[in-house]
Amino acid sequence: MSDSPVAVETHTPELRHHFASAEQQRDASTFGMWLFLATEIMFFGGMFCAYLVYRFWYYNEFAAGSRSIDIWLGAINTAVLICSSLTVALGVRAAQMGKRKLLVALLLITMVFGLAFLGIKGIEWYQKFEEHHIPGNSFNVDDIIHDYPQIHIDPRHEQIFFSLYFAMTGLHALHMIIGVGIFTFLTYKAWKGAYSPSYYTPVEVGGLYWHFVDIVWIYLFPLLYLIDRKPLR
């Protein structure tokens, strides 16, 4: 091993030995996260594909199921996530400018938003549990059928809607939990002063992940909550 990498390493301790420059390292990291997000799109894409097929086939059941989930909790959650995206973006900015305390505060606020989202989501799931809308042996949508006597609703097809609802929101929530985990780590490192205007890649990369999870919700909200909200006569 020649002397030069060692000399560079003492200059910028974040630069790992196999990169030629800090810029190359930053480029590689963000590019890697973008590629990972591409795989995530394909991951959720499988469920969006199933959603597309079944919504086309079982529109009435999808619309009725959509009416039965709480639009206000969904809307509040959408607002919460948009706010959390803002605090993430501001956090990256704070890291770029080297404002340690501001960065820590913004990361913490982001996590509070994320946990609030999960809490509200939990309330929604609990409601569904009470209403016996969770697919399985005790699944019962007589209440939905009773509410909309004017349209034909097949309870078996209603299970498909709720299967997709729980699979999609469940895996989204899992991504949120992982995001909160990542942000806990970032907050700890930021508190320790690991990030500076010359090195803030982890904040940026973690932020990319957070934004992606938000964007998935931005699609899930209209697809699951807003299928058909016209008053039925």
Binding site: H17, Q24, A28, F31, F36, T39, M47, C49, I160, S163
Partner: protein, 544 residues
């Protein structure tokens, strides 16, 4: 370099540190490649063990060695272990891991710790799979078709599904690492048109891994959810569609075939110019055909579903698209043969495997055209013709390419030469054993012997006996290289830096390389496969 004395061992990645920690916590891509080599070899022999049991059962028409239930488990676990735990990681995770940074003049992959994480994920998945196997196994076939897998099978579908889910993450992370490395870590002067074609093949493979693997991941998650939490996405009783499962499954699992074969093609593309002492014919076409195969590979999945009840019109379109895959594949085969034309061919072990690869891949590819033809496909669907076809691609193609690459780069990996005569002997045995095993299966399938049955009518016995005999010969051919590779690590001749007189940056550094690969970052000023300017080793018959 060649004059450096090899008597006193130079410092290299193997002897720099010792001890179990230095291996299990390494971030060196070369050591991780060896970790992968050991683990995939383990799974190769597990999968091979199931294959031999299958062949033993089929030695006689009656179902006398195992019962039908056990037989279902045997072929399922043979398929799952071989596909997800051997073939998918085989060349990328071993040779790719070792060679991608070396070939492009980098010190390591872009994300060394993620590389190690990918191995650990593979090991976690492997432990789950082994646990699943020893506690009862799965009987769904490697395809997990619903509703059998979700509602009827009484075997460990959830555990196998989760094991494959986790191994998928390992595969995604390897692919992600390669794409970022190839984009961002190339040495000065290593332009895209100077990249070795092995790199192009791995680039195309990685794209498939990145875009395809998540789809099977979500599909298996939904199957697991359906079994575990009673969701109904693929359940026909609730209006769910098993065909949707097949679409999602094959959207990954057809391109997965190209994850297996493209790296082998990359290996062969390195070996042929070296042992013909010529530049590759049509560099750009070979490079583009790798990308072409990756792209087209995503557009043909429904040819696995011609008899499953898809519409005739979509079947016709998928049939046409499947034929189109033949174009980039044929470009490769023709360019390899054109490279050999008037070359100074030497029949070394890697070259023998490469010859085997070309022939067997061509047969596998051409019988693939039979299967893309709607009429013939109906006749041979779910017969041994299909089995023979994809084993010609996966074993005759992918495994031959893997062995070719292992022999070609073994001097670089281990710093030792293997015994050449034994290598040639094993290559011959593998070729003979392979053809004896799988060629009769083409005939059996065409005569109508269905796959996945543990017994068969007596008139099929002769060909089945031939096939079983071949499988034992093949097994010998696979065990031999493992033995002499291990032997060579201690007793083999020390390898020079460039024993084959090959092009490529990996041969400019010492054998085995140091931890950081190169003394100083190389600067590339020449084209790939610049064999006009590379002296051939003494024993190669070239005009000097």
């Amino acid at each position: 370099m060649a004059t450096a004395a090899v008597t006193a061992e130079r410092e290299n990645y193997l002897n720099k540190e010792y001890g179990i920690r230095s291996w299990l916590l390494t971030t060196d891509h070369k050591r991780i490649a060896l970790l992968y080599l050991i683990s995939i070899t383990f799974f190769f022999f597990i999968g091979g063990f199931f294959a031999l049991l299958i062949r033993l059962e089929l030695l006689t028409p009656a179902g006398d060695l195992v019962q039908a239930d056990t037989y279902n488990k045997l072929f399922t676990m043979h398929g799952q272990v071989m596909v997800f735990f051997f073939l998918i990681p085989s060349i990328p995770a071993v040779l790719g891991n070792f060679l991608v940074p070396l070939m492009i003049g980098a010190k390591d992959l872009a994300f060394p710790r993620i590389n190690l994480l990918s191995w650990y994920l593979y090991i976690i998945a492997g432990i789950m799979m082994v646990h699943c196997i020893v506690t009862g196994g799965v009987d769904t076939g490697w395809t997990f078709y619903t509703p059998f897998s979700t509602a009827f099978s009484n075997t460990k579908v959830i555990e196998a599904g989760l094991a494959i889910f986790v191994s998928g993450f390992s595969s995604i992370l390897t692919g992600l690492n390669f794409v970022v490395t190839i984009h961002r870590m190339r040495a000065p002067g290593m332009t895209w048109s100077r990249l070795p074609l092995f790199i192009w093949a791995h680039y195309a493979t990685s794209i498939i891994q990145l875009l395809g693997t998540p789809v099977i991941a979500i599909t298996l998650v939904l199957v697991v959810f359906e079994r575990a939490f009673n969701l109904g996405i693929f359940d026909p009783n609730r209006g769910g569609d098993p065909l949707l499962f097949q679409h999602l499954f094959w959207f990954y699992s057809h391109p997965a075939v190209y994850i297996m074969i493209l790296p082998s093609m990359g290996v062969v593309t390195e070996i042929i110019p070296c042992f013909t002492r010529k530049r590759i014919f049509g560099y750009k076409f070979v490079a583009a055909s790798s990308i072409g195969i990756a792209v087209l590979g995503f557009l043909v999945w429904a040819h696995h579903m011609f008899v499953a009840g898809i519409s005739l019109y979509s079947a016709m379109i998928f049939s046409l698209l499947s034929y189109m895959v033949a174009v980039p594949s044929a470009i490769k085969v023709f360019n390899w043969t054109a490279t050999m034309y008037k070359g100074s061919i030497s029949f070394t072990t890697p070259m023998l495997y490469a010859f085997g690869f070309i022939g067997l891949f061509t047969m596998g590819g051409l019988t693939g055209l039979f299967l893309s033809a709607l009429g013939i496909d109906v006749h041979v669907t779910d017969t041994y013709f299909v089995i023979a076809h994809f084993h010609y691609i996966m074993v005759g193609g992918a495994v031959m390419g893997y062995l070719a690459g292992m022999h070609f780069w073994w001097p670089k990996i281990s710093g030792r030469m293997y015994p050449e005569w034994l290598g040639k002997f094993a290559a011959l045995i593998v070729f003979l054993g392979f053809n004896l095993t799988f060629f009769p299966q083409f005939l059996l399938g065409y005569m109508g012997m269905p796959r996945r049955y543990w017994q068969y009518p007596p008139e099929f016995q002769v060909l089945n006996v031939l096939s079983t005999a071949g499988s034992t010969i093949l097994a010998v051919g696979y065990i031999l290289p493992m033995i002499y590779f291990l032997w060579s690590m201690r007793y083999g001749e020390p390898a020079p830096d460039n024993p084959w007189g090959a092009s490529g940056l990996e041969w400019t550094t010492q054998s085995p390389p140091t931890t950081f690969n190169f003394e100083e970052t190389p600067e590339v000023t020449w084209e790939a496969y610049d064999y006009e300017h590379i002296p051939a080793p003494e024993e190669v018959p070239v005009e000097r």
